[in-house]
């Protein structure tokens, strides 16, 4: 499967690469003797490549496996099958202890800044914890200075080290979370909906901060969100997920202006139109029914139960990402066709 899109990056090795990544959670019944009665197919065959200094956006609705993907990438869950390579080294099947040195290179930014900081630790302790866990990174004497530098880097006053998280606003807390993730100077930051819990005005500030940090430190981001406009703003490439699979992948303009997969089209057409005069003037697609259960996903194409183009062929064969790629970008649909759903016209 070819998902190499950053044309400018050909020749550069990806910093993070996932191949055919699968995560199935067993559903167990029984009190004493556990038996597996099924699997939640949270992530089912995801490929992605992330190049240094680039941002890969992952979008999709709730329950499509975005957060599981994030946990797999940072090594909080071990994949059922498939491989994850960080700078060319396989990390997918490592034990906790052997994973430790790699954790310095890939870190996670959380969605909810109110639960991601320990309320009983001061900001200095929170941001300094990575140095205590990896004592070889910075000598003890220099740690306090390093923490202050990190706070300064994310736009907080270094004088705040002795304060507790509850004394900060949501945006400031998210900055603390970012400072903690940056402490070990990682190459890759996996951001799991980093701005979803924030006010719109604060979202902008945090997005700008992330962009500035990317320029200064050469970070690569996996940016997971359900807000399409935020992803469009920050991402170089976008992958659209549905029920554990990537259905379409491409650069921002390819996805947003020339969507080819029916699901992407439906997703984009659901974005509200800001201009009240143009409301209702746009090609709107309203999907029928609900997302099928990931315990028992439909055969063939997973979107077929809600798709207006579905035929018997969709039920029999699983469309690969190459199938709908008519020289433009990977789309997992047998009947991929561009449709303008984003531009409203009078």
């Amino acid at each position: 499967m070819n998902a190499e899109l950053g044309q400018a990056d050909r020749g550069v090795d990806p910093v993070l690469e996932a191949k055919d990544l699968v995560k199935h959670f067993p559903i167990q019944r029984g009190v004493v003797v556990k038996r597996t009665v099924g699997h939640v197919q949270a992530v089912d065959g995801v490929d992605l490549k992330l190049y240094p200094g680039k941002t890969l956006g992952v979008v999709g609705e709730s329950g499509c496996g975005k957060s599981t993907l994030a946990k797999l990438l940072v090594g909080l869950e071990s994949p059922t099958s498939g491989s994850i390579k960080l700078q060319g080294k396989e990390i997918g099947n490592l034990s906790n202890r052997r994973m430790r040195p790699f954790r310095r290179d890939i870190q996670l930014v959380f969605q909810d800044p109110y639960t991601s900081l320990n309320p009983r630790l001061t900001v200095g302790d929170i941001v300094g914890e990575p140095f205590e866990i990896h004592p070889e990174v910075v000598p003890r004497a220099k740690r306090a200075g390093e923490v202050k530098e990190l706070l300064d880097m994310v736009g907080l006053s270094p004088d705040h080290v002795n304060r507790y998280p509850h004394q900060f606003s949501g945006g400031q807390r998210q900055r603390i979370g970012i400072a903690r993730a940056l402490a070990l100077r990682p190459q890759v930051l996996v951001c799991d909906e980093p701005v979803s819990a924030l006010d719109v005005s604060i979202q902008g500030q945090v997005i700008n901060l992330l962009e500035r940090l990317q320029n200064e430190l050469g970070l690569a981001y996996v940016f997971i969100a359900h807000d399409l406009s935020v992803v469009r703003h920050i991402a170089d490439e976008v992958a659209v997920m549905y029920l554990g699979k990537v259905v379409e992948q491409g650069t921002g303009p390819e996805i947003y202006d020339h969507p080819r997969h029916p699901y992407t089209q439906a997703l984009l057409s659901a974005v509200p139109v800001p201009d009240p005069d143009l409301r209702g003037q746009r090609d709107e697609i309203v999907l029928q029914g609900d997302v099928p259960s990931p315990i028992d996903p439909p055969s063939g194409c997973r979107f077929r139960t809600r798709c207006w183009k579905a035929t018997d062929h969709c039920a029999e064969e699983v469309p690969s990402l190459d199938v709908g790629d008519n020289g433009t970008h990977p789309t997992a649909c047998f009947y991929a066709e561009e449709r303008d759903v984003t531009h409203a016209v009078k």
Binding site: V74, G75, L76, M99, R100, R103, R104, Q107, L108, F110, Q111, D112, T115, S116, L117, N118, R120, L121, E129, P130, I133, H134, G155, L156, S157, H160, N162, R163, Y164, H166, Q167, S169, G171, Q172, G177, R180, L184, I202, Q205, N208
Partner: protein, 306 residues
């Protein structure tokens, strides 16, 4: 980016749960009274010579059963007991075993409960099953009954030479049946905390299990546990007294409030009510103080009430 220029801290108050709780409690009159009572009792346990200048082991038969004619003055301010020992001295010196037993039992119970609870909650699986089932077994046996059984085994075989020997067996029996409540609270708090984002963040940074348990989970688990500690101390003091009255707790000639109560009952009917009333009053006052303190602490530590 107005948010970046954070306002200069107006009130640089390091508000934390504990300091807030302390502030709340400091203002309550019932807490102040309870604290004074507890201070008095602890002082008696630590420095008995401050309260009486007589030796409770020096007894003269000819002085036996002197009622306290002149209150709080004279040679025997609270009279003497059936063997002619000074009752005030006996009472004051009986405080130490009572308090030492209660405190050591609570420390052991809390430590055991915390460790087992955090292990069960954090690791889950077979370890959780094992600890939880053991918990169920110990919970269905009432503390008093379990202690009676254990103490009956050792009855009459313990020396009472030193404080440690005096309280060792009751300590074992009461600790064995005292840890369950703390274990349950800790397990519940651990289960609640271990999936929070900040614990996941620590895991993501590569923190060891021990670090996560002691730095991130324990500080949260300790709050609900702390709130029940004073009340439980009160309960232990009462149980100790009950065991002594049954004749199997702290063994005479060593004294504790329970032993004094037990001896007092023999003479109370014969007109020597003070031998019974003084230890009982002291016991009730202390337990009441612990209960009041515990109640206030629970309120102060409950964020929903603030």
């Amino acid at each position: 980016m107005s948010e970046l220029t954070a306002p200069t801290p107006t009130a640089e108050r390091q508000a934390s749960l504990w300091s807030d709780a302390f502030r709340t409690m400091r203002k309550r009159p019932d807490v102040i009274i309870a604290s004074l009572v507890l201070l008095f009792v602890f002082a008696m346990a630590a420095f008995p010579s401050l309260f009486t200048d007589q030796d409770p082991t020096v007894c003269f038969g000819r002085d036996a059963k002197q009622r306290p004619g002149t209150w709080f003055t004279g040679e025997h301010p609270l009279g003497t007991d059936a063997f002619g020992c000074d009752f005030a001295a006996t009472l004051v010196h009986g405080t130490r075993p009572t308090i030492a037993l209660a405190l050591s039992v609570i420390v052991a119970s809390v430590v055991v409960g915390l460790i087992l609870g955090i292990l069960a909650g954090y690791y889950g699986g077979w370890l959780d099953t094992l600890i939880s089932r053991a918990l169920d077994v110990f919970i269905v046996i009432p503390m008093l009954m379990g202690a009676v059984l254990i103490l009956s085994l050792f009855r009459g075989r313990v020396s009472t030479d030193t404080l440690a020997e005096t309280i060792a067996v009751p300590f074992l029996a009461l600790s064995l049946f005292g840890w369950m409540e703390f274990c349950r609270y800790t397990r519940a708090a651990t289960l609640e905390t271990k999936n929070l984002d900040y614990v996941v963040a620590a895991k993501c940074l590569g923190a060891s299990d021990r670090r996560i348990m002691f730095k991130h989970i324990l500080p949260n688990a300790i709050v609900p546990v702390t709130a029940v500690v004073p009340t439980t101390i009160g309960g232990i003091i009462v149980t100790e007294a009950a065991l002594a009255v049954l004749g199997i707790g702290v063994q005479p000639p060593a004294t504790s409030w329970g032993v004094l109560l037990s001896k007092g009952t023999e003479w109370a009917g014969g007109g020597y009510v003070y031998l019974f009333a003084w230890p009982l009053g002291l016991l009730i006052l202390t337990v009441f103080a612990f209960a009041t303190f515990g109640d206030a602490l629970r309120d102060a530590l409950d964020p929903k009430l603030r």
